[in-house]
Amino acid sequence: MTTYRERSQVGVVDPRIAALQRGTDRFRSHRAEAVSDFAEMDEMRDRARAIRHRVLADLSGYVEQFTGSVERVGGRVHRAADSEEARKIISELVADRIGAPIIKSKSMATEEIGLNHHLEALGHEVVETDLGEFIIQLAAEPPVHIIAPALDRTRHEIGQLFSDHLGVPFTSVPTELNQIARLHLREIFLRAGVGITGVNFGVAATGSVVTVTNEGNGRLTSTTPSLHIAVMGIERLVPDLADLEVMLEVLARSATGQRLSVYTNIITGPRRVDEPDGPDALEVVILDNRRTSLLGTELEEVLGCIRCGACLNACPVYRHAGGRSYGSVYPGPIGAVLSPALFGFEQFGDLPYASTLCGACLEVCPIRIDLPRMLLYLRQQTAATHLLPSVARGVRYFTALGTRPALWRGGVRLASALRRIGPRWITRMPGPGRGWTSTRDLPWRR
């Protein structure tokens, strides 16, 4: 098991970091433009936050209502306590469909439970259909960004991947690559047996599952196969359609700077008998995976997240050390809170330290989730195990000095005297100071 520090040392020198920075810069400027064009944005953020809090305050009630609503329109709901249960439920649902491909539309929840590997091990052919997700599936790499999985891949790398895996001549022209993917995936869409999507929002009052996409793959995935499986984090509910409107007003603006994404797809049950197309069955898998254990705790508000990715784009740490440094399916500031909260301190207890606490994430969050507060809270929980021992020792000595004014003043005087001698700059220090002088000098002689 590697640490964030070790991974970040690789991340900061990864040549792809420049592409990640260009990508996040574009998302940021698009978001800024969309927000400045929308006078009601601040009010909508307040309303969106209030809606998310209302849901979390009575989550089991809304889950029950949602379940009843889905069943009323002919769908079925399954509850999965953890990843293993979710994988088991889904593999049973698809067990008799070996042979026809399983197509997927981008879903963080299925990344979280490691669904693809599981299904592939059972002999299924699983195909990601979001272009970015398709690219990283070919590359056999985890997504680098919540909404743009292949954000740091260049067109040349993508061209090479396509030519290696799809048997097409190499090209690095984006429109040609796009066309290759369209043709390749189109054929699979039309013969797929199962479509698995994530869920951006579940509407408790109507039982609707809502997916928000730009490419249309989400619509195809939930239309052509006879079975549609929607995998939803248990917290992704909104009470009713009016609340959904508020969430839609903030989601795309925060994510990509669009006023609405191209396809806001509201799916309510399988196709009715008199409808000409759509799936024959809709199975909704509600994933808990420790989410409900956060209710009523200091970390509850992280469940308000709608996965727009704005905090990643704003975060200086994410932008400079990259998404893979987090070692989790959820990178960035949201991942630094969510990963230890959902997947445990043992593996992810150092992620809360991967932040300068600059507050840029809170500034852009459509739900105004106070990530800096929770990063501090998590540090308090993991300091004993995950703070660098030399740093912890240094802080304790410092505190001992700081609570003894006479000693402190002596120290200040000593420092002042020492600074009349010695070099103008200190370029190498031992112990915890090594981290400083490994990358910077320290001004010394006055």
């Binding site: 260009r22 990508g23 574009r26 609503s69 329109v73 259909t129 979001d130 272009l131 970015g132 690219i135 743009a148 999985p149 292949a150 067109r155 984006p174 429109t175 796009n178 369209r182 054929e187 869409f189 039309l190 013969r191 109507t206 039982g207 609707s208 730009n214 490419e215 249309g216 793959n217 619509r219 195809l220 239309t223 009713d240 359609l241 009016a242 959904l244 409107e245 839609l248 007003e249 990509t256 669009q258 006023r259 609405l260 994404s261 191209v262 396809y263 806001t264 797809n265 509201i266 799916i267 309510t268 049950g269 399988p270 196709r271 009715r272 008199d274 409808e275 000409p276 197309d277 759509g278």
Partner: protein, 192 residues
């Protein structure tokens, strides 16, 4: 200015915003125009005849006859559990989708489509070109004004808000239209 003139002007500005916003998301708006012109416009836009998929009722009478008169063949699309795969294979020949629309949102340039009898979802999804007819009376300033509850999503399996043609930025954030859905989206506004 009396009330009617005022509301007519307000409607015009909403339509103007819709047209502008649809263009901003790389869609094309046409009109507003009366139904007969709308039909002619659709024929002009349809290009080389081939196979198309459409709603039974697109909001313009005799649309299907007119398309067929210039050589288009309509794909009768209705899947069942047994014929799904063979039925869907036929989709690869479809080059045009033609539908009505249940509402429009000026601020985002979006159109709302409900599924239902005679309304295949694939008509707005599978072809390279999607032409939708939208009555100016159904264009609202914002999503909230259009109101999702008014579309009654619970009574059908699918309501979709479409905001421009299918797009992706997944390759170096270069805009690419028509990655999985239509590359061209035409909305013909009907004034009567």
């Amino acid at each position: 200015m009396d009330f009617d003139q005022g509301s007519a002007l307000a409607t015009m500005s909403v339509i103007g915003e819709f047209v502008e916003r649809l263009a901003a998301v790389d869609g094309f708006a046409h009109g507003p125009m009366p139904s007969p012109n709308a039909m002619a416009t659709a024929i002009d836009l349809s290009g080389d005849p081939g196979v198309y998929l459409g709603w039974d009722d697109v909001g313009v009478s005799r649309m299907h006859q007119s398309l067929q008169a210039v050589g288009w063949r309509r794909l009768e699309h209705s899947i069942s559990t047994e014929n799904r795969l063979t039925e869907q294979q036929r989709m690869s020949e479809v080059t045009l989708g033609i539908t009505g629309a249940d509402g429009g949102i000026a601020r985002s340039g979006s159109i709302a489509l409900r599924s239902g009898p005679g309304r295949p979802r694939m008509a707005s999804l599978i072809a390279g070109t999607h032409i939708a007819f939208l009555s100016v009376n159904r264009v609202f300033p914002t999503l909230v004004d259009l109101s999702l509850p008014s579309l009654d999503p619970a009574s059908v399996s699918n309501v979709v808000l479409i905001t421009g043609p299918s797009r992706t930025g997944d390759i170096e954030q270069q805009l690419n239209l028509g990655v999985h859905g239509p590359k061209q989206l035409h909305v013909i506004l009907i004034s009567d």
